[in-house]
Structures are given as structure tokens and as C-alpha cells.
């Protein structure tokens, strides 16, 4: 190109980042048995992992569990264009939710900003052979060559996983869909965008019921948006939604068709001592999850995770500091937009441990019984396969131990936003940009 021999080498590292942008994982979800794990990415693809079943009896004694291997990959959503507003519609998968299994096939819902799709995942491992009218390649036989009749038989073949779209729920949302949640009735599900929540029937794609609408008559009066929503795990008439002002609203669909009026509102009064211009932003709830028991709610705001009792509206019953050391950095985090990062939170199977993500590839787990938290890291270079995870620490004062990380050396581009916990066992899936980490609890820690 240029003749200038002294021109600096072109730095191609940005190209690498660009290429893998589409691989950034945007959602992770186990199915109800935990045998399947689905991930969605920014490029609109869904990858399903399946847990290998353990044939060996001895492996159980060693405490080994099956590994997850790729089961199927498919393109769920494509980039789209809204011609009316001249804006692109991202194909990024915002959420995946599995339906409870009813037959041999698996069903999952995946959504981008605008459209929800129901996918059927089925296996084919047999094929009929011995047709009378078709030959092995499927060509029609010449009838004169057929001398005898036979019954076609099913022969085993290589496993083939077929994924087909069964329903497409389009045009239901003007704003960006942030949550979907399958109802315990097995027939309906809700989808929530910034201002509205719709309820759909899984079999009906051309109609949905609007159950919450917080859009003001005048958009200029808008001060609050919906950030997450979920159905109650057992009561099909209850759902909860969180807002950017840090409130949770529990709604009962039996009360009225439009649930703008909440049954209960969960709100913690603001701490006047900690008030700043960023108070509202950091109080915005980024994720809300019912406990498996259905009695508690787990919420994540920028600096904390909170456990709420459905019976007590005036405040959370437990509050855990995720990264309190960031409180003095809020202005910088506002400047680089990190303050708007939406972290998810999850319960373990027994509702005794809660987990959420942080920066620098760290994620935090809190034991509700002891109240103690631990910091772990999802980073390839510091953990070999089957190695025991070390706990990490962010240095915030006092005695500095080896391995402590200073607050100023945290990498804010390495954020753990999405994660999932196996419904029955202590297996967790952590998404770290374009990498998926699966960690399993070992009964015998000696085995590495």
C-alpha cells in the first residue's frame, strides 16, 4: 500500500473483537430437568448443550457428573429493519425460556427485541427402510421391477436433531422485549417490554392480551420503565414486574383484566445518607426472580442483591453487597455507561444460595443461611478444566493478601451479566462475553 516504510504496523486486534461480537452470549437457561442448557447470542443464534448421561456406575462414587456437549445449533432470529422508524431491529437473543416437557420433543421460547418464537427441538434416530415404491435414494421405482411386497422397518441411524419454528409471536411490542416467562398453567406466557406486558397463549400467535401498560399519555412525562417480569412458579394468576425506580409490583390477574393497579408494591425507602444524583440509577432493578418455593423474590440492582418476602412489602428481608467498593466510582461508571449494565441473579435449587455477576469476570455467591458471600472468577487462564475454583478478593482496605485485586485494576469490559443454575444440582453456567463456563460442585473435593 504505502511506500512509507516507517508506518506503524496496523493493529488488527480490533478486528478480532469485531468478529466475535456476534458470539457474545446474551442469555443462558437450563431446562426443567437440567439435561439441556440453551444459550443465545448477539448474532441471533441459539446453541443447545446436552448433558451426557453416565453409563459407568463407579463415576457416581467419584462424584463426577456428566459433561455438557453441543446438542444443536440454529439461527433463531435474523436482523430486521423497521421501515416506519428507519431503525434496525437487533437479532440479539434477549431471553430463552424452556417449556415444561410434555412428550419426546423439547420446546423453547426465544425472543429478540420485538419477536418471540417457539421452537421445537426433536430427535430423529431411526428411519424407515424398505419401501416398496421408492428405492434407497428415494427415487420412484419402476413398478414392473417390484415382484414382492414387504413391510418397511425402522432402522437406527445417526442421531439427528431437528429444530423447527412452530410459532412466531410478532408485532406484539412497540418497545424492546426484556423478559419472557412461561406460566405454570403450561398454556400461556408473558412477554414484557419497557412499557407494556402482554400475555399470550402458546397456540395463538395473532392475538395477545395486554395486562400491564405504564405508558403515559404524554411520552414526555415518562419517568419509569419496566425492567423485568416473571410469573409466579405455582400460582398461575400472579406475576411480578420490576421497574427502573427500584420498585416491584405483584399483580393478580384475577382482580382485573388490566393489571395497572398492583396487588402489592415492594419498595425500600431510600437511605438519605447515601443519596446522590445516581441514587435512582443504581436502584433500578435489572433482574427479578421468584424463589423455587414461590415465597421469596430475588432482585438485583447495581450494587446489591436483595431477597424479599412476598408477605412483607416495606423492604427486603436480606440485602447482600455485590461490589460496594464501586459506590465511590459511580460518576466514572456513569460516564462509561457501565452503570447501566444489567446483571442477572439466580437462586440455587433449594433457595439457600443466590448468585449474581460482577466485573472483571467475577461472580458472587451468597449463602443465605450464613449471610456470607464469596467471589469467584470465570476466566480461562486461571482455571484449568476440573480444577477447583479459587475464591478471589477485591482489595478494599486493611491487610492486603496475595491475589487481591485492586479496585482500579478491575476490568469493566469483562462483565458477567448472564448465568443460570441447574434446577436440581449444584451446576452453574456462567456466560463471560463469548465464553460459556460450566462449574459443577464436587462431593469429593480431592478429585481433580
Amino acid at each position: 500500500m504505502g511506500e512509507d516504510g516507517e508506518s506503524p504496523k496496523i493493529n488488527h486486534s480490533f478486528l478480532r473483537d469485531y468478529v466475535t461480537e456476534a458470539d457474545v452470549i446474551s442469555t443462558v437457561e437450563f431446562n426443567q430437568t437440567g439435561d439441556l442448557l440453551a444459550t443465545g447470542d448477539k448474532g441471533g443464534r441459539v446453541v443447545i448443550f446436552q448433558r451426557e448421561t453416565e453409563p459407568k456406575g463407579e463415576s457416581e462414587e467419584l462424584g463426577e457428573s456428566g459433561e455438557y456437549n453441543v446438542y444443536s445449533t440454529f439461527q433463531s432470529h435474523e436482523p430486521d429493519f423497521d421501515y416506519l422508524k428507519s431503525l434496525e431491529i437487533e437479532e440479539k437473543i434477549n431471553k430463552i425460556r424452556w417449556l415444561p416437557q410434555q412428550n419426546a420433543a423439547h420446546f423453547l421460547l426465544s425472543t429478540n427485541d420485538k419477536t418471540i418464537k417457539l421452537w421445537k427441538v426433536s430427535e430423529r434416530d431411526k428411519r424407515p427402510e424398505g419401501y416398496n415404491l421408492k428405492d434407497e435414494e428415494g427415487r420412484i421405482k419402476d413398478i414392473s421391477t417390484v415382484t414382492s411386497l414387504r413391510v418397511p422397518v425402522l432402522k437406527p441411524t445417526d442421531l439427528m436433531v431437528e429444530v423447527r419454528p412452530r410459532r412466531i409471536f410478532a408485532n406484539g411490542h412497540t418497545y424492546h422485549v426484556n423478559s419472557i416467562s412461561v406460566n405454570s398453567d403450561g398454556e400461556t406466557y408473558l412477554s414484557a417490554d419497557d412499557l407494556r406486558i402482554n400475555m399470550w397463549h402458546l397456540d395463538i400467535t395473532d392475538r395477545s392480551f395486554n395486562i400491564v401498560d405504564i405508558k403515559p399519555a404524554n411520552m414526555e412525562d415518562l419517568t419509569e420503565v419496566i425492567t423485568a417480569a416473571e410469573f409466579h412458579p405455582h400460582h398461575c394468576h400472579l406475576f411480578v414486574y420490576s421497574s427502573s425506580k427500584g420498585t416491584l409490583r405483584l399483580c393478580d390477574m384475577r382482580e382485573s383484566a388490566l393489571c395497572d393497579k398492583h396487588s402489592k408494591i415492594f419498595e425500600e425507602p431510600e437511605d438519605p445518607g447515601n443519596r446522590s444524583f445516581f441514587s435512582e440509577i443504581i436502584s433500578s432493578v435489572s433482574d427479578v426472580k421468584f424463589s423455587h418455593s414461590g415465597r421469596y423474590l430475588l432482585t438485583r440492582d447495581y450494587l446489591t442483591v436483595k431477597v424479599w418476602d412476598l408477605n412483607m412489602e416495606k423492604g427486603p428481608v436480606e440485602t447482600y453487597q455485590v461490589h460496594e467498593y464501586l459506590r465511590s466510582k459511580l460518576c466514572s461508571l456513569y460516564e462509561n455507561d457501565c452503570i447501566f449494565d444489567k446483571f442477572e441473579c439466580v437462586w440455587n435449587s433449594t433457595d439457600s444460595v443466590i448468585m449474581t455477576g460482577a466485573y472483571n469476570s467475577f461472580f458472587r455467591m451468597f449463602d443465605r443461611e450464613t449471610g456470607r458471600g464469596v467471589t469467584l472468577e470465570a476466566w480461562r487462564e486461571s482455571s484449568k478444566p476440573r480444577a477447583v475454583l479459587r475464591t478471589r478478593r477485591v482489595y478494599t482496605g486493611g491487610r492486603r493478601r496475595r491475589g487481591d485485586v485492586g479496585v482500579d485494576s478491575l476490568d469493566f469490559t469483562k462483565k458477567i451479566l448472564h448465568m443460570a443454575w441447574h434446577p436440581a444440582e449444584n451446576i452453574i453456567a456462567i456466560a463471560a462475553t463469548n465464553n460459556l463456563y460450566i462449574f459443577q460442585d464436587r462431593v469429593n473435593a480431592e478429585n481433580q
Binding site: 422508524k85 431503525l87 431491529i89 419497557d194 414526555e220 419517568t223
Partner: protein
């Protein structure tokens, strides 16, 4: 983040201060500077939404609420009062001066956008290094205001002007890349200054007129529906000369620029030069 030299309190004049109150004044002005910086940052964030994809509504709402919060506090402080006082002509009633964004002599509702930014940037321009030529500014204001006032006035003067890009810094005008600059300005204009109303308005196709007069209504001005006209977007022509991001950046004092934006041109502009060019364009 802020210039070190400015230690004046906004509300107090230049009376002699005792040591104690001097410290207090410094703390107060430091807070004011921080607050101003936050306000500038927030406005830029609202403006610079990437308009290929719809901006994140949650983020926009949170930033808008922050802006509103700062504005309310400034109103209580009296800082806002000084701003509005500077821009309102003598003919306006005192109560209007305290109205948050009802500033600048209004000729058209579409000028609501430049109002907000001009007002905000007033605070930023209240720096010693800003030189303003009072004679060119037809509004009787104190010296520190005129630069911003001028930007706003120009916006109103050139109603039909397609070359709204001329509002900008004379450095850009003198540059041989003037055409490119104008195109950029047009390009930026299509993105538009992202006032609250416009940010939320991208999600709607609205034809409504702005609501009844109120401080916050003006802050969240109505959407210019010509924005959605594909032709308008493509050609970058709009009925009202919008104050694009560059104008706001112009108005911000250099010391208040956030690192993420390109270094802002100095507030100081050769007003004679601009005036001359304006005459040529208007054809007077």
C-alpha cells in the same frame, strides 16, 4: 475534570470572604462544578445515542431523570434563576425567570431544543477565559452569557437557512473542509439534539403539539415529525435549524468536556467573522 481557577460561588458576588466562608464557598463551587459537569455529560449522552438501532429506553429515561433532578436542584439553588434571568428580556415577568427551560426569546416552539442546551451551557461558559462581544448580542445580558446567547440567537435568525452549520465555530468555517462540515452537521442534524421528548419520541410517530406551558414540558419538547420523514433524513434538511451536537459542544466550556467526546472548540469565536458571513448568506 474542571478548571482549577474557578472558585467563585455562583450565587454570591465577589465580596470579600473570610477564611471559613472561603472554604465553604470553594466546597460549594466545587459541588456546583461537579453538578454542572454531570449535567453536561448527561445531555451529551442523550444526544449521542446511536441511531442505527433504537436507543435503550431504560437508559434514556434514567439519564433524563438525572437531568431533571439536577435541574430541580439548580432551580432551588437559584443557579437556574440566574440563567433564566440572563436570557429573558426585561419585558418578562419575574415568575417566568424561575421557569426552568422557558428561556430565550421564543419565536417558535421548535426552538425548544436550542433553548435547553443554550441554557445549560451558560453555566459552562461562565469561565474567565470566555470572551464575548456584547455589541453583537442584542439581548442585554452580562458579559459571561453572551457567547451562548449568541448561539441561540443565531439559531433563530437563520430560520430558513439550510446552512445551519454556519452557527458553529469560525475555525470550522474557515476550514477548507467547510462543505464537509456542513454535511456532517446535516448528518448530525438528522440525528438531532436528543432532547427528552425526542429521545422518547423516536418510539412513536407523533404529530401532537407540545403540551401546556410548563417548565418541564419545555424541557421535554415535542418531536419534530419531519424527523421521521425519510426524505428529510436522507437530505438532512429540516424545517427548523436544529442545534446539532456540535453546537452544544461548542457551547460547553473546554474544561467541562468529557473525555469521551472530541476536544471541543473554544467558546471564543470571531463574532465579526460570523456576522460577516451571516450577512452574505442572508443576502442583506
Amino acid at each position: 475534570m474542571f478548571s482549577k481557577g474557578t472558585k467563585r460561588k455562583f450565587s454570591d458576588g465577589d465580596e470579600d470572604l473570610s477564611d471559613e466562608s472561603l472554604v465553604g464557598a470553594r466546597v460549594a463551587s466545587s459541588y456546583s462544578l461537579q453538578r454542572q459537569s454531570l449535567l453536561d455529560m448527561s445531555l451529551i449522552k442523550l444526544q449521542l445515542c446511536h441511531m442505527l438501532v433504537e436507543p435503550n429506553l431504560c437508559r434514556s429515561v434514567l439519564i433524563a431523570n438525572t437531568v431533571r433532578q439536577i435541574q430541580e436542584e439548580m432551580t432551588h439553588d437559584g443557579s437556574w434563576h440566574m440563567v433564566t434571568e440572563a436570557f429573558c428580556g426585561t419585558g418578562q415577568s419575574p415568575s417566568e425567570r424561575l421557569v426552568a427551560t422557558e428561556v430565550l426569546c421564543r419565536s417558535r416552539e421548535q426552538d425548544a431544543e436550542p433553548k435547553l442546551f443554550s441554557v445549560i451551557s451558560y453555566e459552562g461558559c461562565r469561565e474567565e477565559e470566555v470572551v464575548a462581544d456584547e455589541t453583537l448580542c442584542s439581548v442585554s445580558v452580562s458579559d459571561t452569557v453572551s457567547n451562548v446567547c449568541l448561539a441561540g440567537r443565531m439559531g433563530q435568525c437563520w430560520e430558513k437557512s439550510e446552512l445551519s452549520g454556519v452557527e458553529r465555530d469560525e475555525e470550522a468555517l474557515e476550514d477548507s473542509r467547510e462543505d464537509e462540515e456542513v454535511d456532517t452537521e446535516d448528518g448530525a442534524s438528522t440525528e438531532g439534539p436528543k432532547t427528552i421528548g425526542q429521545v422518547f419520541g423516536t418510539f412513536e410517530i407523533k404529530n401532537g403539539s407540545p403540551g401546556p406551558d410548563s417548565a418541564l414540558e419545555e424541557l421535554f419538547s415535542d418531536v419534530d415529525t419531519s424527523y421521521y420523514d425519510l426524505d428529510t433524513m436522507l437530505t438532512g434538511m429540516q424545517s427548523a435549524p436544529k442545534m446539532g451536537p456540535y453546537d452544544l459542544l461548542d457551547s460547553l466550556a473546554p474544561s467541562h468536556s468529557s473525555p469521551s467526546i472530541v476536544s471541543t472548540p473554544n467558546c471564543r469565536s470571531d463574532l465579526n467573522e460570523l456576522d460577516h458571513i451571516m450577512e452574505i448568506i442572508v443576502g442583506s
